[in-house]
Amino acid sequence: MTGRQPSATGQTALDRLRGRALPKNHDARTISALAANPGCTRRALMDAAGVDKQRIAAQAGFPAPFGQSRFAIVRGNAFEAQVKENGAAQLLVLLRDLLGLDVSEVGYADFNDVGGNSSAEVRHLHTRHALTAPDQPGRTLLDHPLLRLKVGGRPAYLEPDLIALRLDGTFHVIEIKSFAVIDGQADPAKVAAAAIQSAVYVRALRDLVSEAGGDPAAVSHDTILVAPRDFSSQPTAASLDVRRQLGVLDRQLSRIASIEDLISQYPPALTFDLDPDAQGRPRRPAAELAAAIGQVAANYAPECLATCELCFLCRDEAAGTTGALGKPVREDLGGIEYIAQARSLARGQVPAPEQAEIAALLLRAAQLREQVLGEAV
């Protein structure tokens, strides 16, 4: 896909930022995380360069126990296997009931390996052939096709749970998740994460179709989320519109492409190299590394704790700022950056002219608090 790759000079600058480490490849999770905090320059820069953030964070003194829970993975896999067993029998019934899938549409193709070969390259070629070949003999459900999305010039392999073909003539991405949908309601944060992940697949699938000369609109922005219903292990399906997530994702991906503008703001000596010894053990002093990281501004929000390996470092750095209390607090206290500043305004400090409005609000809030609780701020 053109227009989504940094230029040669940009790439050189990114390689320098990364130092001697090998670039870390993206997956659906890390690409989704890109779109989770679009305002964070630090993350944008490190992700574009393919920096191993986990190792950087550990070396800088803020190791984050990061990754998916083993139990969640086991549960997720078990539910996925159950939905897909016997030619996705459970899923077919769901799709027929909820989306009107025709009875004749039962084709099921396994893309987990190609004749016993499970290498990413072979599987991707097989997927591309299957999705773009003019005759698609009775393939309605594609199990674990392997898509590819270029992020910052490097390919990332992506593996959607399922792609349903020919459901009203278009491709639909199906994502199977193991969080429960209770009374038609699910945890909004988890649904949002599933939506952005599905959007990543839709983007990759559209790239694949348009590369082959097809119409990208053949890939629907309506994805299908399959999750356990209520407290049972019976699956239920819901349609998920991911147009908004696609917009955010496209913006982030093009931002990586124009990363040069961002890099040019920083000194050419800036690098996140860990100075590894012969055994690959990092030797760079923590303080020096932290100082290098500190040169690039972060945009910490409590949500980062769920999506970014650098979260503890950024949280420590953001201590005392209003942003550390969450996005709603920062928005409510527009223009005030530090908590201490907000408190002194509440205590009656004379505000700067541009802060007069928020200062009045804070003062009033402090008075109310004193009346109710009998204690000053």
């Binding site: 030619g87 996705a88 070969n117 499970s118």
Partner: protein, 292 residues
């Protein structure tokens, strides 16, 4: 007693080779003699097996509880391999379609009263392949692979019986659904044959019914006749296209070598996992050779 069975098996194997040689040599009298010797040996083997059956089932209990922690070598031990192989054969013969270990275990539990950990079934297929490659056609049947119609490679996780028609072991894109419906019909028919079907069998039927449109009775239960009828109705939609794809694949598969025809082509295989399997296989073969 297990030694007697082992000895009989060796004799049966030897007699089979002898019969084959006699037939190939065109000596009908000798072939006839050897055939009757083979039949009596097989009968003796069946009788010996019946005698040890309860003891064998009791012996399988503790190893079944050991589950995945159990080392794969133990399944190659004499005694434990045989009952598992028979159990899988029984369940597959009831279904008459290629099935995954989980379904095989469930069907066996529902109709034959005993279950087994699915992890052991995976090593069973490897044992069967090894046995076939060492002494081809020495056994009356093999638990073998179903083949993907495109590359004729073993279809992931599906088991079949070597004596089935080749078409049945080919898995095209419509085959998973067609086989699922056929399995539903077979299970429904098997339940109809039993005067008082066990609860596990009814549960199995219920699970099949839940995934076949129109198979659940208005009361919410699953009636064998209704399930069978609904499955047949849907099967008519897929049957012709599926049969065509399977026949075409089977035609290509006939060009394969015997072992590949049963256990799938391996030319694309590259996985580290398979290398590990091969290593385990080699180690297992050595252990077996040492045992003999």
């Amino acid at each position: 007693m297990a030694e007697t069975i082992e000895a009989l098996e060796r004799r049966i194997d030897e007699l089979r080779v002898a019969v084959r040689e006699a037939v190939l040599a065109g000596d009908r009298t000798l072939a006839g003699q050897r055939r009757s010797a083979l039949r009596s040996a097989e009968q003796a083997w069946e009788d010996a097996l019946d005698e040890v059956a309860p003891a064998g089932a009791a012996g399988a209990g503790p190893s079944a509880q050991a589950g995945p922690a159990e080392p794969p070598e133990s399944s190659a031990l004499p005694g434990s391999l045989l009952p598992l192989r028979e159990q899988v054969y029984e369940a597959l013969s009831l279904l008459q379609v290629p099935a995954a270990p989980k379904l095989i275990a469930t069907v066996h539990e529902a109709f034959f009263g005993a279950t087994f950990p699915t992890t052991r079934v995976t090593s069973l297929k490897r044992d069967e392949e090894r046995s076939f490659r060492t002494a081809p056609f020495a056994r009356p049947y093999y638990i073998c692979a179903a083949l993907s119609a495109d590359y004729l490679a073993p279809s992931r996780g599906l088991l079949a019986v070597s004596t089935w028609p080749l078409e049945l072991r080919m898995i095209g894109s419509l085959s998973p659904r067609a086989d699922f419906l056929t399995a539903a019909i077979r299970v429904a028919e098997a339940i109809e044959r039993i005067p008082e079907p066990p609860a596990a069998a009814r549960r199995l039927l219920q699970r099949f019914a839940a995934s076949v449109s129109g198979a659940i009775s208005p009361g919410g239960g699953a009636d064998p006749a209704a399930v069978s009828e609904a499955a047949r109705a849907e099967l008519t939609v897929h049957r012709d296209a599926d049969a065509e794809a399977r026949a075409a694949a089977a035609e290509r598969a006939r060009g394969l070598h015997h072992a590949e025809r049963l256990f799938g082509t391996t030319m694309f295989r590259d996985r580290a996992g398979d290398a590990a399997d091969d290593a385990a296989e080699a180690a297992g073969a050595e252990a077996k050779a040492a045992g003999e």
